[in-house]
Symmetry: C2
Subunit: 330 residues, 2 copies
């Protein structure tokens, strides 16, 4: 299976190929990336010109540890995806269990590295696995899992990977403070909550041996200078974090109300995306696309549509109008 | 072996730990990174906020193919180092031969992935290897190899990796136009010649199957949005390339003349760094460090000092003064 043919959100070029338009015309709600990004600081020239130093990497990890409330061994990588690519090599390939449906790159990376992958539907069904993977809160349905239950589960599997890519707005469900124990690997994403997915920045927290092995796989300069500089400032800015959590809480209520008016039922979601049950996912996506709003559908569901949250007032108005025109004409 | 303990250039924080000073005081000549970088363009907001698109990745590869004069299958990665991390997994680990001395990360990444590594001293000694690695032109001594000889060598080894990280100024020695043949893997670096090492951008050219396998290892978004945007502009700017080649030719003659006045003999070099034979490498490094100029020494040589090229006039003057004070006091 090639990386080219897996479906993802954020594929706005595919939207344009199918429905036309130029990038500036589209509102991309096909991802869970915050559309009100952390304001870009001006960067020192060395962030661009010099090889990233150990000092810059350590400084980033220091603020990340405070932000994630963890003193576990930690590695900064070029996006949570970079960790997903490496994790299959932490142990000998056998059979992994993935709590599904979820972000499809976990299973894909495991299969590419020679693992068998079994999709399971409940936390307890992960027990006994050599490698168990879950996303908390889950993408696309927003299911959450209690950290205490996950710590117990860690003892019942060979290795547990908890992908917390969408946990920034709900720090109480994070297991990061428990990271460091043998067999537990926790992933954090920077780009989604901070709205800077192009930077490619993420973190892995885990037991010393696992983090050492991942650092060896990642090499000496896995994170770019701009990502180190921006991440270090953003992760230390607790005022922005709290204001963003508050805004996202109001915005999720707002988008759910708009969707309800179109008769779309909420399946679940997180602070950064909402999953709706629609009469026909393909028709809903095409309908929104006529108004240049790109949404996410799923190969395994004919009814689910996932929407990220608009950013500006103009984007909100366009989404409201587009959802309005989704109503069956009477 | 941990990535933390291998020695590299660019470790200016180590220089400060040993000799003091703050970053602004130091001139880092410990790398082969061009100190007159490609001028940073202003970037569109999407370069930071959005997931890199397939379209942006394809556009970068298109200009890279023109720049490297190759229509071979090609993958953009987060620096040539990212390719070095993945190449050991293209085949089953056995014994690799590395044309030495050279950039130490090749052997390190191979060993970390379970390979045995044999250092050899000549091109012909690579013959018969399951995996053979060479750097052309070589780091640190500037040795070059004829592309025709390398194409012949490809047929006599399981897989040949040619690292052309320092080939931008000498395009006639590049084997990139021959890439695509089975068993040949060519690496290119963006950050060194363009002076933007913090961006993390590099390329791998090779046979279709190898590039597909590397793309699967790298995952869907291996290169950041800023790297895609800057790389696409810079690699298309042939006027800057030619002006930079001309400037570097003059500058290498200038630094060699300065070194000669201090009695340092030229061992070899490239357009981006020069390797000198000195009476005592440790003393030479410490002497330059007193003037806040950081140089590269090598664990395997007590006499070799490698210097990158200064950028501004003020940097040239400081290097001239510092080298002058290297002369034995009479």
């Amino acid at each position: 299976m090639s990386a080219d043919i897996r479906d993802h959100g954020g594929n706005i070029d595919l939207a344009m190929a199918r429905f036309g338009g130029c990038p500036a015309e589209w509102i991309d709600l096909s991802t869970g990336i915050n559309r009100v990004p952390y304001p870009l600081p001006s960067l020192p020239p060395e962030a661009w010109t010099a090889l990233p130093t150990r000092t810059a990497q350590s400084r980033l990890l220091q603020v990340a540890r405070a932000n994630y409330r963890s003193d576990a061994p930690m590695l900064a990588v070029a996006g949570a995806q970079a960790a997903i690519q490496m994790i299959p090599r932490l142990g000998k390939a056998s059979t992994a269990k993935v709590l599904s449906p979820t972000y499809n790159e976990h299973a894909a990376a495991l299969r590419a590295a020679g693992w068998g992958v079994e999709d399971v539907g409940s936390l307890s069904a992960l027990e006994g696995a050599d490698l168990a993977v879950l996303v908390n809160p889950n993408n696309p349905d927003g299911r959450t899992y209690d950290p205490a239950a996950l710590l117990q589960l860690t003892r019942k599997v060979g290795r547990l990977v908890v992908d917390e890519s969408f946990a920034d707005a709900v720090p109480t469900i994070s297991i990061a403070s428990g990271a460091g124990m043998a067999g537990l690997v926790v992933l954090r994403s920077f780009g989604k909550f901070y709205g800077l997915a192009g930077l490619r920045l993420g973190f892995v927290l885990g037991a010393r041996d696992d983090i050492t092995a991942l650092a060896e796989m990642a090499g000496p300069w896995p994170v770019s200078g701009p990502a180190l500089a921006v991440g270090t400032l953003a992760l230390a800015d607790q005022a922005w974090v709290q204001a963003t959590i508050d805004r996202l809480r109001a915005d999720t209520a707002r988008i759910d109300a708009l969707a309800a008016k179109s008769g779309w039922g909420l399946v679940g979601g997180t602070a950064l995306f909402r999953l709706y049950d629609t009469p026909d996912a393909g028709a809903a996506q095409a309908g929104l696309a006529r108004d240049r709003i790109w949404s996410r559908t799923f190969p395994f569901s004919s009814r689910w549509v996932r929407l990220g949250l608009p950013g500006t007032s103009a984007e909100w108005q366009r989404l409201a109008d587009a959802l309005q025109s989704q109503l069956p004409r009477t």
